[in-house]
């Protein structure tokens, strides 16, 4: 499996395996968790990302909510 998000994203999407898709999802969830903790996000266009390392980390879950603006 590739260990670089840029490489994964640049591939022919028809050639991506289910594991590749899961790795991309895990990467973005990890990025969200890092943003939530105040870390600067990794810029994929300028830095290589180790997907296999990321998928091992625990991703913080978000809680659903609706903000209701009562109008009318």
């Amino acid at each position: 499996m590739a260990n670089d998000l840029d490489e994964l994203m640049s591939r022919d999407p028809m050639s991506l395996s289910a594991q590749d898709i899961d790795a991309i999802i895990a990467y973005h969830r990890n990025q969200r968790a890092r943003k939530a903790s105040g870390e600067k996000p990794v810029r994929t266009s300028s830095a290589n990302v180790d997907i296999s390392a990321i998928t091992k980390k625990i991703v913080k879950e978000s809680k659903p909510a609706v903000v209701c603006d009562r109008r009318g």
Binding site: A36, V66, R70
Partner: protein, 329 residues
Amino acid sequence: MVDESLLMIGTISPFLPGTQIQFAWDSTSIGYLKTCPRLYQYTMLEGWSPKSESIHLAFGTAYHSALESYARSRANGVSHEDSIHDVIAEILRTTADWVMDLSTKAGKYKNRATLISLVLDYLDYFVDDPTETYIMSDGRPAVELSFRFELDWGPEGYQVIEPYGMGQPYILCGHLDRVVTFNDQLFVMDHKTTTSAPGDYYFNQYEPNNQMTLYTLAGQVVLNAPIRGVIISAAQILLEKEHRFVRGFTYRTQDQLDEWLLDLHLHLNSAEAFAEAGYWPMNDTACDKFGGCKFRGVCSKSPEVREMFLKADFVKLELDQRWNPLASR
């Protein structure tokens, strides 16, 4: 009457044959007309489009499509994780040919990576969505619901139009992202992406608002159900922080819907008069609204040189590429 089979394949023109009189209207084209008849002329009649506009349209279309796919999948009993997997795979396929200039603000905020993260974050955020997709009487989920219905009046003086036959009425059309139940009430849900903060200032733009009033009316007509208004589901794209999701409600009473239709009658009468005169006046009080009209740089020039400035900064779309309210999705 319009041949429904032609409507469904989306190839019919929204204009009466041989005229500039539009008989099929959606919220976008009505909005152009109400904002400025010259804006309507440049966009709907002549097909001028800014060279840089496609990125916003492509991003918005892909975002809507992804959320639609997810909602359909969930309504069919597929799990959250499996639905997300399929949606992300779909995004990767449909955006494979995107070429974004990441040095521009538009490119930084609207590219494949931000699209995937925005969709993923939205779906995770609302994994236990308190709104539920309305299931129509035929068992289908009310997602990306196209609507077309006739008004009880049409263009004056164009009551016999071949090949449509007698009395072509005006048609209102468009697409509802989703119809949902929330606290035992029915609402249209409309998805928006924004780079600005979705606070009171943001939501105030939807009250009153042409699009949201039409969507409330359309929901009532199409579903024959008491739609209360629209839930605007706003997604703020952020680069350094988590994306932010806020929903706002905007309600419409029956009297407000009736008033909107009355006003529309007069606006469409004006459009017909402009078409017959072959002249679409400029509303120079709207040029600075919403960050400035895209044609401001053209309209600010003397009339005899405007064509030159249009050609420099805009592309003239082919007929089949122009905005068509009757085009199928």
